[in-house]
């Protein structure tokens, strides 16, 4: 048997790897406790105190040594109890762009009505330390750098504490079952939007274009603030919102097609350019459609459409569900 297999078996047994979990309650089989380095120094100090008490025959020296030694032993139980019964539940994760830091939120709540102090949670990036009052709950997050687009599985978190005396460390591992959707990073500097594609058909005039101002119409919820006629609103007596209606000089829809980006850039760069276009179009508040190879999204506008487009871009070539 090769060493890697043996190590993975040992790690599985030792750390009771049960795979990702959404909910996690710390109990004795999942918590490890070992003395810290200061704990070893403390033990050496206790040994010296004991030797001095024996040599000088100080009864109260025995009392002092045993009291402090017993206190550090009791501290072990308190350190363990500080983690035991803690419940962690994974929350939703907001999508991020590649290169940004993904923040995996979770909620820590107290199952056992004990005030908990100085619980430290850390992932690969940074460390968070918090207190938890008895019976309370709080949100915290683990951060992780998102290198590439697609699904980012949550990193393994270490939950540890050295409360109360700093002599023992109790820790546990948790693999949250969250995953973060990572959009491709938009290309910088942002390229200009492509020209409208000529659409055939008989839709004339009344469609929404983007060229010249035609008339005012009533405000529809979802209209971007860019096309709200603010001056008209300011002039109106009772603050009725109205939007500008543009008419395109050419009958066309904005289609963001991956074919518009040169193939020589490579897939990732093309997706980055498309992402930049999606963001720019969304900022303008105009309708846009997305076509990536075989998949496409009909033209629309709004945050939901933007997220759907970005998700399509992120998962191009990647399976939707993770095994």
């Amino acid at each position: 048997m090769n060493a890697a297999w043996r190590e993975s078996r040992i790690a599985h047994w030792l750390f009771a790897d049960r795979g990702p979990e959404t909910k996690f309650e710390l109990h004795h089989r999942r918590i490890f406790t070992l003395p810290t380095r200061t704990g070893m120094v403390f033990l050496a100090m206790l040994a010296l105190l004991l030797i001095a008490s024996i040599n000088y025959q100080l009864s109260l020296g025995y009392v002092l040594t045993f009291m402090v030694g017993a206190a550090s032993w009791i501290g072990l139980h308190h350190t363990f109890a500080n983690l035991a019964g803690l419940r962690l539940a994974a929350s939703t994760v907001a999508p991020v762009f590649a290169g940004e830091v993904a923040s995996f939120e979770f909620e820590a709540s107290d199952e056992r009505k004990r005030a908990r102090y100085a619980i430290a949670v850390h992932g690969p990036h940074g460390r968070l330390q918090f207190n938890l009052a008895a019976g309370n709950h709080r949100r915290a997050n683990i951060e992780c750098l998102a290198p590439a687009r697609g699904w980012l599985a949550a990193p393994r978190a270490t939950i540890e504490t050295v409360f109360p005396l700093g002599l023992w460390r109790a820790w546990s591992y948790w693999q949250p079952a969250q995953r973060c959707l990572v959009y491709p990073a938009p290309e910088t500097p942002a390229p200009p939007l492509p020209a409208l594609s000529i659409a055939t058909g008989d839709a004339a005039g009344a469609g929404a274009g983007s060229e010249s101002f035609a008339a005012l119409r009533a405000y529809q919820p979802g209209d971007s603030p860019r096309i709200v006629a603010w001056k008209a609103v300011a002039r109106s007596a009772d603050d009725v919102l109205s939007s500008k209606q543009f008419e395109g000089s050419s009958q066309g829809e904005l289609w963001l097609d991956i074919a518009l980006a040169p193939p020589a850039l490579g897939l990732e760069a093309r997706l980055s350019r498309l992402a930049a276009w999606v963001l720019a179009a969304d900022a303008e508040g105009i309708d846009y459609g997305l076509r990536v190879f075989a998949q496409e999204r009909a033209p629309a506008h709004g945050p939901a459409h933007r997220d759907a487009c970005l998700k399509l871009l992120a998962l191009t070539g990647i399976a939707e569900s993770l095994a």
Partner: protein, 689 residues
Amino acid sequence: MNALRPRLDRYVAGFGRDGQQLLLLLIAVACIALPLFTHLPAWAAAVAATAFAAKVWLVRARRAVPGRWLLTMITAALTAATLLQFGTLLGRDAGVTLLVVLLCVKLLELRARRDTFVVICLGFFVALCQFLYSQSIPTAGLVALGVVALLTAQVAQNLDGDPACDAPPTMRVALGIALRILVFALPLMLALFVLFPRATGPLWGRPDAGFAGTGMSDTMAPGSITSLAQSDEIAFRVHFDGAAPPPAARYFRALVLGSFDGRTWRVLGRRAAPAAPEPKVEARGATLTYTITQEPQDQPWLYLLDAPVRAPRVAGTRTGETVRATPESTYMTPLRQQQRILVRAESATAYRLAPAETTATLDTWIELPPSFNPRTLELAAALRRETDDPQALLRRVLAMFREQAYRYTLQPPPLGRNSVDEFLFDTRAGFCEHYASAFVVLMRALDIPARVVAGYQGGEINSADGALELRQRDAHAWAEVWLGADAGWVRVDPTAAVAPERVEAGIGRALPRAAFAGVFTLAPDNTLMSAMRSLRDRWNAIEGAWNQWVLQYNATAQRSLFQRLGFKEPNWRNLMLAALIAFAAISAALAARILWRSPRHDPLLRSFARFEARLARAGIVREPHETPLAFGARLQRDLDKYTAVRANRIVDAFVALRYRALPGAAAPATPTPAELHRWISEFRVPSRS
């Protein structure tokens, strides 16, 4: 005082979060080091105080710690000062001073969390050093406070939460946690204290404890026992197995002095053969067995009731339990007694002491310096002309003391070269040493072998635990006279002839002490004195129990305890095993207690359920689909105005507490759960008429 509190709070707030933790640590170190200041040289105490104040200022003003070169130089200078003061860096006083000095330098250097831990360890060492000087109950109390402070500081280091939304750790929380830990640790400590095997001797060398105290010296001159009469310190405590002997028989013999140089009595220098360990005493009545707890005295004397019928057994000396015997049947420890010891002995109050003395030995007890005290010699010659019988002569001398105007006083006039002459014929006033000295000189002038005996006489029975307590002021000197082979050495106390109340009722009654420069006389049967005496007796009894059960719990005591409990072979292996088993069992029980926390139902829900039950009894039931707020709106319709207001107050508080409570986000007007519980318990629906 009211103005002081906000100023103090502002001052403490100025330290900042980390600074407050450091301040707590500094205060803890001060607590534990302060009682040691009385034992340090003055410059060391001043350095410690300065370092403490400097560090407090440095932390508050957010200045950088002193540089490494400066600290090294300070360390070197202080070490050199210690070396200069004591001549060595070893030994108790030098070691303790060096430790305190190093602790001060480390305090100045405090910067990172790692350093605070070193300071805490040094603090525990300082705590142990207190016990090198004293292990009394007050010292134990002070060190306990210091240990609590140190553990509080240590806990406070590990309470940090999220700086963004958690409140900074308060000292009260840290103190609560530290006290909980110590309370749980107490049973473990007791088990280990009883079971941990004690060593029979030191691990290395002979560590000197540097004891200094009062006690009986090995010479007696006019004034030497008088100086002890001022001290109220307990010299030793006696627990008799049966009843205590009457006051007239409470003579505790320590040493015998036989060599007089005209003023001072000394122990006889020449020794004949090595003494046999058993005393040369024939008991002539029942014997008394007793245990004496002797306080440290920097002398080797053992105080035994007149007269011991066998060699005493001593427990608690570092070098074992051997005693040395003298030819006069007194006993000593091999080394100066610098630790409290327990002596077990048996004596007879009716006895014959050394009836088989040889003439050569007796000749040593007759010698007098030739050119001193001529009038005494003349008196002796005159008495000798009248009779030859030692008994008759003895009676004549005692009659002289009794009938002539001799005074027993603590402040006699000073004596010159012929001290006995001046005392017997001129001043006629003195303390016990004057009477004993003069008596023995007179006896020797009459050719009767006589010697001075020093020890303690009298004492008081402690009303709290029945022990006979002898204090330094009960020190006494009397005489022994050889009255022939039938009687042996007979005890004669000339003080009894002059001031019999001294022997019968103790020195408190014979010479009542004056307080406030002689304005008041503290007679023993004064009501104030009796009340104070019973308090003092209780305290002495507590201290006696503390000394015996805690401080004297050494190898012998442990072995005898376990043998009494029925264990046949309490060697260190069995004791260690028992200690481990007890430790495991107790810590398992404590662990169960610490880890047990039942998930209880939310107390808010329980209270609200009580509220709903009260309303249900009045006929108003909350529908399952009704939210609390909707229920509250319905109550407003259905109840009278006054009750509805109170009901809505409860509902609003319940909703605010249960559904909107997030850490740090509670609105300031939200009532506390305790208030809600109180409102609910006071809520009543008035009965509909």
